[in-house]
Symmetry: C2
């Protein structure tokens, strides 16, 4: 179909140039645009609507697990940021500094928050006094700024949107439970809502968050075999509490330090959706977060009865489905391509011949399968197909991820895989940072995580040959 | 009741010191806290939950009227801010400047957005080409920064949360319609959701937004007789469009400039809720935005059957009502005061004697009226009372506002009212800024608005005696 070809030609094939394919989708599907500010993007209505569905889903999960939303200032005084030594070392090189308010130079510089641990700690020190005040289970939806050199829409931008959970607990055990609970919330959200399979595990010391005792992560794999850190959950132990003096009197009237966690996911997950589900025709959206779940395309719409029928179908479906009619003056073929580009999960075609036969045509975005469905069974079929798509996207992504997950028993094998068939590499590690550094130096791969599901592939480290401590997932990452 | 007194004594009476009363409520009801950053507040869970209910209600109204949410960068390059002359003059003195990113000094300073007209215009110039691209009906939820000298929680802070709508239209008429449509959305939201009556009108040229052709406003009156600008809607005409080159080809293939609007409300509305509905026992919340609409207080909760009954009541009510049980180890009197302080609209008391009689006690926060209600009729009564409270709060606020709205026919009378019985003053105005300046100089009052509902109180200006052009609402304002 020539109209369809035309639009398809407009985006680069992912095999030809994956980075360009990614950028093309963002532009053509109206997800985001560049702005006059270097490295900052404009999230357009279609992209922002996806974020809103993600927020709604996550926010409900946070509230179900007892969390409350708050809002902290976007500025952090330099002295406050510097309180925790590891933390400031990790973040100071990449913050934006406010030095003037109006015409006056400030006595103390303020950084635009890159993350808000220091502000939460400062607040917790003021409001936590007794064991009755614990736990504090706070979350914040906001934007943060990190002065990155190289940026790419959604994946790495100077400013991005995220949520950051910050909690304080009476005991180390409770903090650890919370850290894992929220990692599981993220993993479940990615799999059940975004249809993105993840590997859960712990970061190596080299890769952990600045100031954390331990960082846990969910890692996903993109079409091009690169990994994406998709969410992290940190256990701070009582490190920040000691620095900021966050103490409470326990039930025996003894002063104790609190134990803290933090956890976050960002708009980079929109990048993950593109790179896990997208194809050469554009975006493919999981129904649960698709702003439009079904688009009705009237065929020969000028013919009597077609548009009213399309309206009737919309009215019937919209009780349970996010549905839209495209009755613009474009040709149907153009419309098919356009809504494929935007990743709309289901297309419903209705024309004079269909009306005659009391049927409509349903087409799945993901498989392009076509179904001729009696209008009497339309609602049930649409609902069924949306569930099928949601499930199949996860299964397909899991199959691809598994296919692109390799094992390496030697450094040679490791290098060859990275070079020839990029993906996750499972390999044993001695636990020494020297080997992590050497592997990165030689192959560009980093330790993505020490997965919770350990296997014993070999007894020795893939790099140095000394006794192995852990199985690690390695990969090149965004 | 002594426990109750104790808490009541903890806040200043509004007649003794209104400003202190206001601050006391914010602190005691856990709405907000001060932060380490001058002039920036921490919005605590209870305050933020109110904002979330306000957001949800407003966002639904925006979407019903065809608007879409987007997200623009938080930074504006200095050159972009300077493009529109009036606009930069209005805002440059009160912006925060980012001068360094990491360790590098920036080639061009970036201001933290005080408002986003310039960013939206820059984007619109890129994405609007044809009449088919119009209208653009965008909204953004975000935080903005204005470098204020004097700050007060919710009313005036360096950083505050808001929404800003920005729209572009083909014609001047459509832009004017939109400006008034959104003003009406705000007015309806304030009255129906927040139970705050407003006066709708137009700002004088002196008071209008920097760069606008016309600014419309909703003005409300606080308990202390001061006015609060509660929302504004601006018509920009094609001024910004000419500066930023936002043009489209019309259906006759001719180049035209778009006509634009913007409109916003902020977290200062939480300040309005406090100062319109609050009393000497604390906050009073309209049920529609109350995080907890009904609190169950078990009386003699250690007695057998009391707590299970409270749980049963909660389970029955929570289908339609946001309900919470306070089963802490405090005395009932302490709990009564505590939840009155937090403005919970309804209190439900249940004790052994009530259970025996198959009844409960319901107490209204606003009037303190007490109702003995059969448990069989509980749901219906609770629902009815919540509706009554919502309606009565608006009526009570309207009556007080009307009582505190005066007319002045002479400058003497004007000054005496401002001095002795602060409130809205209706007075005639010649339309000259000199008189506006003189009135402000002499009395501290500003023109709140030229109301849509005009009256002819006199033929001459209250200040200069020349022919009057408009009736104006005057007042001292926050």
């Amino acid at each position: 179909m020539s109209n369809e070809k035309k639009l398809v030609e407009a985006i680069t094939s992912m095999d030809v140039d994956f980075a360009q394919w990614y950028t093309d989708i963002i532009k053509k599907a109206d997800l985001a645009d560049y702005s006059s500010v270097r490295g900052c993007m404009i999230i357009r209505p279609y992209g922002y609507a996806i974020w809103e569905f993600m927020q709604k889903d996550l926010d409900a999960r946070f509230k179900e697990t007892g969390h409350e939303n708050v809002y902290m200032p976007m500025f952090i005084p330099e002295s406050l940021l510097q309180k925790e030594k590891d933390h400031v070392e990790g973040f100071a090189p990449e913050v934006a500094w406010v030095t003037h308010g109006g015409k006056e130079e400030l006595a103390e510089r303020l950084c635009v928050r890159p993350t808000s641990e220091t502000l939460f700690c400062d607040h917790y020190a003021n409001i936590i006094h007794s064991y009755r005040d614990l736990p504090k289970l706070y979350n914040q939806w906001c934007s943060v700024v990190r002065w990155e050199k190289t940026t790419r829409p959604f994946l790495r931008t100077l400013e991005f949107l995220w949520q950051e959970g910050h909690t304080a607990h009476a005991t180390a055990e409770e903090a650890q439970e919370e850290t894992i609970r929220m990692l599981n919330v993220y993993a479940d959200f990615c799999e059940q809502t975004l249809a993105i399979p993840v590997v859960k595990g712990k970061k190596t010391d080299k890769e952990k968050f600045a100031g954390a005792k331990a960082t846990y992560t969910i890692e996903s794999l993109m079409h091009d075999g690169k990994a994406l850190q998709s969410g992290t959950s940190h256990n701070f132990g009582d490190g920040f509490a000691r620095t900021f003096g966050i103490q409470y009197t326990d039930s025996a009237n003894k002063l104790q330090y609190v134990h803290q966690t933090s956890w976050g996911v960002t708009t980079r997950l929109i990048g993950a959706i593109i790179m896990v589900h997208g194809d050469d025709n554009g975006l493919v959206l999981p129904p649960k977060i698709a702003p439009v779940q079904l688009v009705v395309i009237p065929v020969q719409q000028h013919k009597e009865g077609v548009l009213p029928k399309a309206e009737e179908i919309k009215a019937r479906l919209q009780k349970n489905v996010r549905v839209k009619i495209d009755d613009s003056d474009r040709m149907p073929g153009w419309k098919f391509s356009e809504h494929e580009m935007r990743g709309v999960p289901l297309r419903l075609e209705i024309g004079p011949k269909d009306i005659e036969k009391n049927q409509c045509v349903l087409v799945r975005r993901d498989t392009r399968e076509k179904f001729f469905v009696s209008l009497d069974e339309m609602e049930a079929k649409v609902e069924q197909l949306l569930m099928d798509i949601q499930r199949d996207l996860l299964e397909k992504a899991r199959a691809l991820r598994d296919k692109k997950t390799y094992t390496a028993l030697s450094l040679d094998e490791f290098s060859r895989i990275i070079e020839e068939t990029p993906g996750f590499i499972k390999a044993m590690w001695c636990g020494e940072q020297a080997c992590e550094d050497a592997l990165k130096e030689k192959t560009g791969a980093t330790a993505r995580c020490i997965p919770f599901e350990q296997e014993n592939l070999a007894d020795t480290c893939v790099c140095c040959g000394r006794p192995a401590k852990h199985l690690v997932y390695w990969g090149k990452a965004y």
